[in-house]
């Protein structure tokens, strides 16, 4: 058992203020005071929108919860917070989550480690389409799992693609088509068609003889188009590679969802449905901490794990070992060795997004 798995009061040594929170003062209450004062100072910011949100928050009966949310409402963009502010935000969240989910919840704020550039490789020949990665991701990352359409969020999509079959019988079909244009009878055989197929396949057993599978999730681009379009810079690339979101700063404009060529981003249409007993209490601020209504979320390569050296959840459950993860700066890592030895490709490389997610085959 590794240490990072345990919810702790003070896991990150670089943020001592979090551990020395005064026992006498309620941190949530003090946070409220300061932020309210700051807020009033910037009186010009008092927009109709803030008033609306405030009114909604004040209508809540649970005082502690409301105070925490009130304070969260006015906190800064995570990247601009000082260490003390980060620690404060983290204590506030840990308190609120622990009360909400009935168990000690830790919110990690560990930053990028030097010498680390995370990379991912997926052996597309091995994937059997069992979707275990999809559900491991849900277990790990506290996605919404309600019954209403739109309440169930999965970050990984597995595409089933036809192998295709060329047939003698089809030779005389489809020629000529339309305006006498030459089209071979086997023209519409989907062999080798990338990104065309089924996402809702559900056979008794996988892999099927006539299909190949291609899991797709966030590619953690080096040149991410989603980051470029964000009007509030709430989504950004961390120094060790993953593209993350400060959920508290996201305004839900969904521009990033328009910009992502891999459909990696999901929108919380409503307050996420996350049963207490299924909630993963080991969280990261930029990672799998419970999200709120109206914000965008996406794969972050299990930051709460990978920042502490642990494999992402999807890698660990892949029954065929198709998923590989490692440090691209370490020539001995499995991903570096794959890049050195195997044939790899990047999905939609023509868009110059430079993913750090590589598909390869033996």
């Amino acid at each position: 058992m590794t240490t990072q798995e345990t919810p702790k009061a003070c896991p990150a040594a670089e943020h001592p203020p979090a551990c020395t929170a005064p026992a006498s003062a309620d941190p949530a209450a003090s946070a409220t005071k300061t932020t309210r004062r700051d807020f009033l100072k910037a009186g010009g910011m008092l927009s109709l929108s803030s008033l609306m949100g405030t009114a909604a928050l004040m209508a809540q009966t649970d005082d502690a919860h409301a105070a925490a949310e009130w304070a969260e409402h006015f906190q800064k963009n995570y990247r601009l917070m000082t260490d003390a502010e980060k620690a404060e935000a983290r204590t506030r969240l840990e308190k609120r989550y622990s009360a909400e989910y009935g168990k000690p919840v830790s919110v990690d704020t560990t930053g990028p480690q030097p010498g680390m550039l995370m990379g991912y490789a997926l052996n597309i020949r091995k994937c059997i389409g069992c979707r275990r990665c999809v559900h491991a991701c849900v277990e790990e990352n506290n996605q919404s799992r309600g019954p209403r359409p739109g309440e169930k969020i999965e970050w990984i999509q597995v595409l089933r693609m036809e192998r295709g079959k060329f047939e003698q019988e089809k030779m005389n079909q489809g020629y000529p088509e339309g305006l006498g244009i030459q089209v071979g009878g086997n023209a519409y055989t989907p062999a080798g068609a990338v990104l065309e197929g089924q996402y809702h396949y559900n056979p008794e057993k996988v892999p099927e003889a006539d299909a190949t599978y291609m899991p797709i999730a966030c590619m953690q681009c080096e040149k991410p188009p989603c980051v470029k379009v964000c009007p509030v810079r709430t989504t950004y690339r961390e120094a060790d590679g993953p593209v993350v979101i400060d959920y508290n700063w996201c305004i839900g404009c969904k521009m990033c969802m328009n910009a992502c060529p891999y459909w990696a981003r999901r929108f919380n249409l409503t307050t996420p449905v996350l049963p207490k007993e299924e909630m993963n209490p080991v969280t990261h601020y930029l990672g799998n901490r419970p999200r709120m209504r109206g914000v965008v979320e996406k794969c972050h390569w299990c930051l709460q794990r990978t920042r502490h050296g642990r494999y992402p959840a999807c890698v660990e459950v892949c029954p065929v070992g198709a998923r590989k993860f490692g440090n691209l700066l370490d020539p001995e890592s499995e991903v570096s060795l794959i890049l050195a030895r195997k044939n790899v490709f990047r999905l939609k490389a023509e868009l110059n997004t430079f993913p750090k997610f590589f598909y390869f085959y033996d």
Binding site: A42, M45, S47, S50, P225, V232, Y262, R266
Partner: protein, 407 residues
């Protein structure tokens, strides 16, 4: 200072007075506005799950109306431009009405921005100094140019009305340059909105450089079409007389721009469907359906019929010169472009998704209600602004004079 107070009170008193028809119109709009607030409440408690939007189709009616209304706002320049650049006499008289339309359209756009956001309570995040403004984001630019356009039109429009009210001459030294800036700015708002969609290589349906000019062309057809309709209503219901020459010029503009819009649509169809690459899937879904799903096909073809029909009608002198019949092609052009830019452009951009998943968009009832409510809100503001402006232009509201009762 005294003038300002009396302006405000005269203006307010004038716009609040009206006949039964006026109150019935404003009352029915108010009902829809109340519905709008209810849906806003739903969206900000239950979330956008009450709409038809999904993670696959992450924007629908709201963004569609937003884009369309930016066009209507920009379309107001079709009055201001001939009035101030070519000194068109008929247009000059009504230029301020165009500015009022622009103001209400931009306000509607802003409300639609609120409507489509997941967290409107966090809008302040994009306003410095406490928020962060991103120069790399097209949405940031869009919000900036829209606000600028709103301010420019409010200044130009109300300064002009102010001068009329007080009887002072307009200070041309800064007023005329400001009007020229506003004219250029009108183009910028729709261009930036076009970039907002077009700058996404992830969405091949939008990713082409024809978007800005297509946006402008459709805007300059839909905007004046609405203005013609409004002018005809004004002529009928108030003692303010809009010159035939102004309406005729607008008709010509509608027709030319509609022709260009149809031409650009046809060009896109030919270019995309000749090769029929995977990138044409969105357009193909729109025109014929994909995987047997045909949700948008009726929308597209009704838009084609409306636009082409209006274009042909405007060629006929019987429609062009008869201001009773002119309303038909104008309404058709307006509706056709509303569909073309909304259900016909925004929604198919999401179908199929960038990784090839085909899903359909069904706007929910509350989504329609909110859309209708925001339009009602816009028309509410527009009615007030136009009424006040007309009162001042007619001289019924005048500094030192008795505030006359509106008809």
């Amino acid at each position: 200072m005294h003038q300002l107070i009396s302006f405000t009170s005269d203006y307010t008193r004038y716009v609040l007075k009206g006949g039964t028809k006026f109150y019935a119109w404003m009352g029915s709009l108010s009902v829809l506005i109340l519905a709008m607030f209810y849906v806003f409440y739903l969206q900000n408690t239950d979330g956008l799950i009450v709409t038809g939007m999904t993670s696959q189709i992450s924007d629908g009616l709201y963004l569609a109306n937003l884009v369309f209304l930016v066009g209507v706002a920009a379309g107001a320049v079709t009055i201001v431009f001939p009035a101030y650049v070519y000194h068109h006499e008929g247009m000059h008289k009504v230029a301020v009405l165009g500015e009022m339309l622009a103001i209400s359209a931009v306000i509607m756009v802003m409300v639609f921005v609120f409507a489509h956001m997941g967290r409107p309570d966090r809008l302040w995040h994009m306003i410095p100094p406490r928020g962060i403004y991103s120069f790399s984001s097209m949405l940031g630019w869009d919000v900036m140019v829209l606000n600028g356009y709103l301010v420019l039109n409010a200044i130009c429009g109300f300064y002009y009305l102010w001068c009329k009210y007080t009887g002072n001459p307009v200070n041309r030294k800064w007023f005329i340059p400001l009007v020229y800036v506003a004219i250029a700015w009108a183009l910028s708002i729709h261009t930036v909105t076009a970039f907002l969609m077009a700058n996404n290589p992830a969405r091949p349906m939008w990713f082409h450089s024809m978007m800005p000019i297509r946006f402008i062309a459709t805007a300059f057809a839909a905007g004046p079409a609405l203005i013609i309709l409004i002018f005809l209503v004004i002529r009928k219901n108030t003692s303010f007389w809009v010159d035939d020459s102004a309406i005729k010029l607008l008709t010509t503009i509608v027709q030319f721009c509609l022709g260009i819009a149809i031409f650009l649509t046809l060009s896109e169809v030919v270019v995309e469907l000749y090769a029929r690459t995977e990138h044409a899937n969105g357009l193909y879904y729109l025109m014929f359906g994909l995987h047997g799903l045909t949700g948008l096909v009726p929308w597209f073809w009704s838009s084609v019929v409306l636009m082409v029909g209006a274009f042909v009608m405007l060629f006929m002198p019987s429609f062009r010169n008869d201001f009773n019949k002119l309303q038909i092609p104008c309404a058709m052009a307006f509706a056709g472009i509303w569909i073309e830019k909304g259900m016909g452009l925004i929604v198919p951009g999401y179908i199929p998704s960038p990784i090839g998943e085909v899903t359909e968009y069904h706007p929910s009832f509350v989504e329609w209600l909110l859309t209708l409510g925001i339009w009602a809100f816009g028309f509410f503001i527009l009615t007030i602004l136009l009424k006040g402006a007309i009162g001042i232009l007619l001289g019924e509201v005048k500094y030192g004079g008795q505030a006359a009762a509106a008809k």
